[in-house]
Symmetry: C2
Subunit: 303 residues, 2 copies
């Protein structure tokens, strides 16, 4: 069984399909890397690509995607709802099979060093690959965004990059790291009042006393107030618990949940946990699903 | 792609594991038949086996299971919560892949004729294999159960079997048919009052003006009142809609839903529909699930 990692790079372009295609194609030129999913949002002005494959293939492909993005995206002209600091903004490596988080952190450092050295971009290491506690959390690393970093990277020792130069061009900086699987999940409210989304986000996120393993922002997207989230431990705080809580908080604000949106992919366990909770059907698993069970047994013999 | 059918025979024994094993083993002696699932309930005194495979293998295997059950189960001594008319009580064939419902109905008739002729058991054909409109519905065919049939099979023309003799022994009669996939689903209430389950069943079942494609009975199982159901078209009336409605009706009765129970298997679509509704995530599909997407792509190349 080969080792498999996932990499979910976030790029600060969600409008120009040609640019997005060029970035994806740069990675896909490497044999053995697979594109599992892509999501672009024009309000966020951001694209999330989900790659998987052997560590060697993924690291090489993602390096090329970062290189292409840094040539094609100019942050001095880029605007969007979503916080960002780089053309290739965040590059997390995730262990999927036959590899540990620690090994992914080592790979992240190899990738970060190469981006810093060869592309001459400032690189910050985060989460399991962080070099100091205050850089573990993505939001802390990215605080102030590109525009703030331009002002401070050379003068503020706290902003000195882990790899690459302490100077910044139109491609900005790259935040590279390793982490466990997360679920990127947005909930649209049936209101245009972004302040309501902001208040709900503040109540729901761990950093201000909300639910554990939830990061949340209130944004204005697709003409609606949106609670935009990363769920960093879906086993401890399941998606459906978060959605239930937002429904409650929305009702308190006199609004409702219009719909949700998944960015990238969701682990199978999260699907089963949601259905199991809703149907009050404890222990629901793939062994209860006809298609799964059929796929597990041999259907070819007709002796 | 070979044709695949499913057969979900229901046997009137849910307590004696040795008997159940002998019935299952009789079918599994046929190459090419697979046992996907088994559920036994001692209150129902009933076992549901889910077989799948090529039509030829499934028909042969199920014939042998019916033969074994008719030798081992004596309905003159059998008692249980669940209505029943035979040792092998109900034998539905379900099209899964590369075969139509009409073709399954033809197979059902071949199986029914063989059971009638060789095992000398009265056989009633139901659902898509019914020979007259009043025999389409299982509950109508089984009305009065074994004890009533003993009194009426020889004297009442309406009870004349489709195959086999118009006389009945301790193995009772067999109801054979063809139908689309259904979901057998039970909801336990947090009360011992079986009359509440009966009232909820009456409000929820189609035949008394409830939800379309829902059959329901109130039973007393595992020390709890239970709403026992067959959902005969889960696309038109999804499982989660039924559970939601029972939660409402239970609340009106001043009780709650304790948990649900799936008998046999559930189609994948029902799982996704439930999670999608609960998470308010429209269009949720296998393409959103990491494990599914990974399994669809080639992970071996590392050139």
């Amino acid at each position: 069984m080969p080792s498999i990692i996932e990499c979910i790079p976030n790029f600060s372009e969600g409008r120009d399909c040609q640019i997005i295609d060029q970035i994806a194609d740069a990675a896909l030129a490497v044999p053995g890397i697979m594109l599992l999913h892509r999501t672009s949002d024009s309000d966020h002005n951001r694209t999330v690509l989900t790659f998987a494959g052997t560590p060697k293939a993924v690291i090489e492909g993602v390096y090329r995607a970062v290189e292409t993005a840094s040539e094609l995206i100019d942050l001095t002209k880029q605007t969007g709802q979503h916080p960002r600091m780089g053309a290739a903004d965040v590059v997390p490596l995730v262990p999927i099979q036959g590899i540990t988080l620690e090994e992914c952190a080592i790979l992240a450092h190899q990738l970060g060093q190469r981006i810093g050295d060869k592309l001459q971009l400032p690189v910050y290491m985060y989460e399991a690959a962080a070099t100091r506690p205050e850089r573990r959390n993505l939001a802390d690393v990215r605080r102030g965004g590109y525009e703030f970093l331009v002002e401070h990277i050379a003068s503020d020792p706290a902003r000195y990059p882990d790899y690459g130069p302490a100077s910044i061009g139109p491609a900005g900086a790259v935040i590279v790291g390793a982490r466990e699987i997360l679920i990127a999940y947005n909930v649209f409210l049936d209101t245009t009042d972004v302040e309501i989304a902001g208040r709900i986000a503040a109540k729901i996120r761990e950093s201000s006393g909300g639910l554990p393993y939830v990061k949340a922002l209130g944004l204005f997207v697709d003409g609606r107030a949106q609670v935009s989230m990363n769920l960093t431990n879906y086993r401890m705080t399941p998606v459906h618990i978060v959605v239930e809580r937002i429904r409650e908080l929305a009702a308190e604000e006199g609004v409702g949940v219009e719909r949700s949106e998944l960015i990238g992919l969701m682990p199978q366990d999260a699907l089963y946990a949601a259905a199991s909770a809703y149907l009050q059907l404890p222990g629901l698993s793939p062994n209860d699903i006809l298609e799964h069970v059929l796929s597990q047994v041999n259907t070819t013999s007709d002796r």
